[in-house]
């Protein structure tokens, strides 16, 4: 899957500069970087929510893109109906709700869920469909360790089964180490370093990456 080079400028300031890149089906790519490094902007540009400076297609039009925003939204209906917004596949819905441990909440109003439950429901909703590229913006930020772990396993299984490219925006280096095949490190809107996680997370070449890893103490 080819991503064309693009950039994004806000009020005269370039906040993201993305080079052309190739992504491989079935792989998980973790996008890491400090706050304001352009991770979420990258996710929104790829999802087609933000227009790029080039105002042209970044991805081939036949590529289906799924996206889960940082702030999970619960539509004013019950959990089951929220899940069915993704697709009407009953068997898949039941499996996902079971895997995400929200089966018992199926008939509950989504507005009454906790933050972690809402995030699990939103994830289940987007995983109901099969996308060529799935972008998740900090999907486990509101989850505890146990649900984070089961979510990570579910994501790895989803990629393996569907062959989808997963772009995982995360603040957690540990999460990137656990689930990613490759890592993109962003610094001030620029892709500073990318490659296999063994390389970027354990023996980075660039000074910014080294400082970032040292600062986070992981």
């Amino acid at each position: 899957m080819k991503i064309n080079a693009f950039s994004k400028t806000y009020e005269g300031r370039k906040v993201l500069d993305m080079p052309e890149m190739e992504l491989t089906s079935g792989k998980i790519y973790a996008v890491i970087g400090a706050n304001g490094s352009g991770k979420s902007t990258l996710a929104k540009c790829l999802a087609g929510i933000l227009t790029t400076d080039q105002k042209q297609q970044i991805l081939s039009p036949d590529i289906s893109v799924g996206y889960m925003p940082q702030k999970s939204y619960a539509f004013r209906m019950n959990v089951e109906k929220n899940i069915f917004l993704g697709s009407k596949d009953l068997i898949r819905a039941k499996k996902l709700m079971k895997d995400l441990q929200i089966e018992h909440l199926a008939k509950k109003s989504a507005a009454k869920l906790s933050g972690g439950e809402t995030a699990r429901m939103a994830l289940g909703r987007v995983l109901m469909k099969t996308f060529d590229l799935l972008i998740l913006d900090e999907p486990t930020a509101a989850m505890d360790m146990e649900t984070t772990s089961l979510t990570e396993n579910l994501l790895m299984e989803y990629c393996r089964e569907t062959g989808c490219v997963l772009l995982l925006v995360t603040h957690s280096l540990q999460q990137a180490r656990r689930v990613a095949d490759e890592v993109f490190f962003y610094y001030k809107g620029k892709l500073v370093e990318s490659g296999k996680k063994e390389h970027v997370l354990y023996s980075p070449e660039m000074e910014e990456t080294q400082k970032f890893l040292k600062f986070y103490g992981e």
């Binding site: 929104k44 999802a47 087609g48 929510i49 799924g66 889960m68 004013r76 917004l85 909703r125």
Partner: protein, 228 residues
């Protein structure tokens, strides 16, 4: 005062013919105008709250200005437009319920638009991003947004109805407060008070306050549901 109050209660209980006529004209005017304003205003409010385009802020300023338009100014404009010498004088709408409804729609519409726009602005971006992320169509996204606004729409309707039923300036100017024809509760209260007929005025006042109480309870219930 006590005897006037007793007479007022008696008028209500005996379903006085004039009182019933005033209530019927009031209901016709208030329900029609608030419904028309709702049908027109909700899509406009959703559109203004969920889109970003050049000139949007100007439209919002105009709408906010119209929200505070004094009813007598609205009445004056319609009076001039529909009086014998006005451009629409030949339609002979002046002093009819029709022109009262029209004037009310103009007064209420900005309130409906403003109320919906404020609410939709708060949720539109997240709803649109979520829907886009799920690969949903534009129509499906619009219906989802409408579904998110259900309680807000109900609450806005009640607000519009309350404004319409309590309005006096514009309706008295364009309706003329003609007995058995265009006299509504508010104009009748003024009329009967001026004539010293306090009992009918109090009876109408009691009904108006009861309606206002019920409407406000309903608005409060709706607001609680919205915030949940």
């Amino acid at each position: 005062m006590q005897s006037a109050l007793a007479k007022a209660v008696a008028l209500i209980l005996s379903a006085d013919a004039e009182l019933c006529n005033i209530l019927s004209v009031t209901a016709k005017m208030s329900i029609s105008s608030s419904l028309i304003a709702l049908i027109l205003g909700v899509p406009i409010g959703i559109w203004l709250g969920s889109s970003r385009f050049r000139g949007q802020s100007i439209l919002l300023i105009i709408n906010r200005t119209l929200m505070g338009m004094p009813p007598v100014v609205c009445g004056l404009i319609f009076y001039m437009l529909f009086s014998g010498v006005g451009p629409f004088g030949k339609w002979k709408w002046l002093f009819s319920v029709r022109i009262m409804i029209l004037a009310q729609v103009v007064l209420i519409l900005p309130i409906v638009v403003g109320n919906m726009e404020t609410y939709v602005t708060g949720i539109a971006q997240t709803v649109k991003e979520t829907a886009k992320g799920l690969g949903l169509s534009g129509w499906k996204t619009f219906f989802l947004l409408m579904n998110e606004c259900v309680y807000q729409i109900c609450s806005t309707y009640l607000l519009a109805f309350a404004r319409s039923i309590a309005e006096v300036g514009a309706v008295s100017m364009v309706g003329g407060a003609i007995a058995w024809k265009t006299n509504v509760m508010t104009t009748a209260i003024m009329q009967y008070t001026n004539r010293g007929n306090f009992s009918l005025g109090i009876a109408l006042g009691l009904i108006l306050m009861t309606i206002s109480l019920v409407v406000n309870i309903l608005i409060s219930v709706m607001q609680r549901r919205i915030n949940r």
